[in-house]
Symmetry: C2
Subunit: 337 residues, 2 copies
């Protein structure tokens, strides 16, 4: 039997996360009857009786890659819940339960374990959900797999963006990228600015109220969370909806703006090529825009108009006054970055 | 502020898995309204509309502790699915979906990844379920968190055993313990016997048909799977049902019997203190016993009568002719063993 040795020796680091996922999807039998979101959307959705959908999202937090230096145990716990709930928010699903499958080092202190679960419990409470159970294992690095369960009458797909839709976000970007630069590259920044930037790195939040309310009122055509970065998320929505997106307004935090000025880093990079921000990106028809704004204000949230859906498939652009730039599909990818 | 340093320095390896789980449960807010199985049962069950229950089970496979030497990639994939489906079987839930949250080494071959998912897909197909999605991460050791979803009109709890019930299993025990001894202690055993024993280590199966059918017909009072070993499983059923259990018949495989004879190892240890066998342990009233036997035969399964539920709370005994032995609550525990 002849064997193609080259093919067999290809490593995951040679192909990157996107191709790893494609490889997995190429092997498994696909479910077609039961699911109401396509493969590759933010979460899995299954039909339930009475026209309800069960929405499930799984996220694995890995010590080595997902815990920035200086994050406390309580913050680690909170982050796992936020990571999972954020995708339910993007799909407009109301959380009904949370599970954890956890891998711990045998030399971990009981106190650290307690603090992590205190964090999990605080965040779960904030998002109106309870920990129902899970699994416990021994590992060499801390691994927390969070499983969030939610229900929704109608789930918002990534694929529903319509030409002419307004593209909006529920928050401003840039602090996570700036914060990781501060932590990992030790950039000199004044204490107060550093504190405010790092707060978003250590205590990200999910926009569950905004997501659920807008979905319930049927005001959103497409949605995604921005955990992979704003650029990748815009590309995903565009790809799955067969459209293009033009951004005219850079949704940058005041802190990231100041940080960019002081460090001479391009604010464009901080906003588009970060990640782990858990802000929702939504496309909303012009007719629904005012209604959506009003609804979101009721839960003390905001909607920032950043651009519009255009008729040029796959084109993701930033245009502002005379500036025109391509927004590349880049950001964090496991195995290669 | 005074601090109790001793308490803070206690490690997970000092307290073991059972106490780790207790610690977690002591911190989290408990759900009381939505769930239909108590905390600590094999799986989580949530009320759905139309008197249905959603049953969720999560199991983390960790390379270091859960992959015996010589297990192939395809077998690793199959094992994850079996681990998860087995608890649905114990609760009588019909599988409706499977998710994986996977941590992979960046230097892993693409071919290995493919083989693992081929295994996952083969097992999923066998149990009538499809992979719906999941998460992908980079880790130093292989981690596969499997999430099985099922539905059931009525879930079988661990806590339903009634005094006088017959205690039965869906298979024979001993091959896993014998197999691990062969692999880890390199015991000399003839090839054919070794092959038959290792087959159960490398290719465990879940008893989903038996579990679902018996639950649907309402013939079982309590059930648990034996992934933690027969002894621990009997103790769990007894504890949660406030009863005792007397075993009169040692459910040992022919292979384990031969192995015990040749190696002079106590067959009692092989049967009770193994683990990862995924055989169901059920308690069934005398009135339902014949019916249960007939039903199980329809799906080509079996029920082995091994003992009965007794009125002495917490007493777990083996009695056969003149032999009388205590079955201790021991087996595999993370962090300490």
């Amino acid at each position: 039997m002849r064997r193609n040795l080259n093919v067999e020796r290809i490593k995951l680091s040679d192909i990157g996360e996107e191709k790893v996922i494609e490889t997995i999807f190429s092997i498994i039998d696909k479910e077609t009857r039961r699911i109401t979101l396509p493969y590759g959307d933010d979460a899995v959705a299954i039909k339930l009786p009475r026209k309800m959908n069960l929405v499930i999202n799984v996220e694995m937090l890995v010590g080595k890659t997902d815990i920035p230096p200086g994050m406390s145990n309580v913050q680690i716990g909170k982050k796992v819940v936020t990571m999972c709930i954020s995708d339910l928010a993007a799909k407009g699903a109301k959380p009904i339960g949370f599970l954890t499958s956890i891998g711990l080092r045998r030399d971990m202190n009981v106190r650290d374990l307690k603090e992590i679960y205190e964090g999990i419990n605080i965040a779960a409470r904030k998002y109106g959900v309870k920990v129902l159970g899970g699994d416990t294992n021994e590992t060499d690095d801390i691994i927390i797999d969070g499983i969030a369960l939610g229900i929704a009458k109608k789930v918002i797909p990534r694929s529903g963006a319509k030409i002419g839709d307004i593209v909006a976000t529920t928050g401003f970007f840039g602090n996570t990228a700036a914060g990781l630069k501060i932590l990992l590259e030790s950039l000199p920044v004044e204490e107060e600015l550093k504190r405010r930037i790092l707060k978003d790195v250590y205590e990200p939040r999910a926009y569950i109220k905004e997501g659920c309310l807008l979905a319930k009122k049927g005001l959103v055509n497409a949605a995604i969370d921005s955990s992979d970065g704003l650029a990748i998320s815009l590309h995903e929505i565009a790809k799955m909806s067969n459209v293009g997106i033009e951004i005219n307004n850079l949704p940058i935090t005041e802190e990231a703006k100041k940080f960019a000025e002081k460090t001479n880093i391009d604010p464009f990079d901080l906003v588009f090529y970060g990640g782990e921000e858990y802000i929702l990106i939504l496309t909303i028809s012009k007719e629904n825009w005012e209604k959506a704004l009003n609804e979101v204000r009721k839960v003390k949230g905001k909607l920032i108009k950043i651009g519009r859906v255009i008729d040029e498939r796959g084109k993701i652009m930033y245009k502002h006054e005379k500036e025109e730039r391509i927004i590349e599909k880049k950001g964090w990818q496991h195995f290669t970055t």
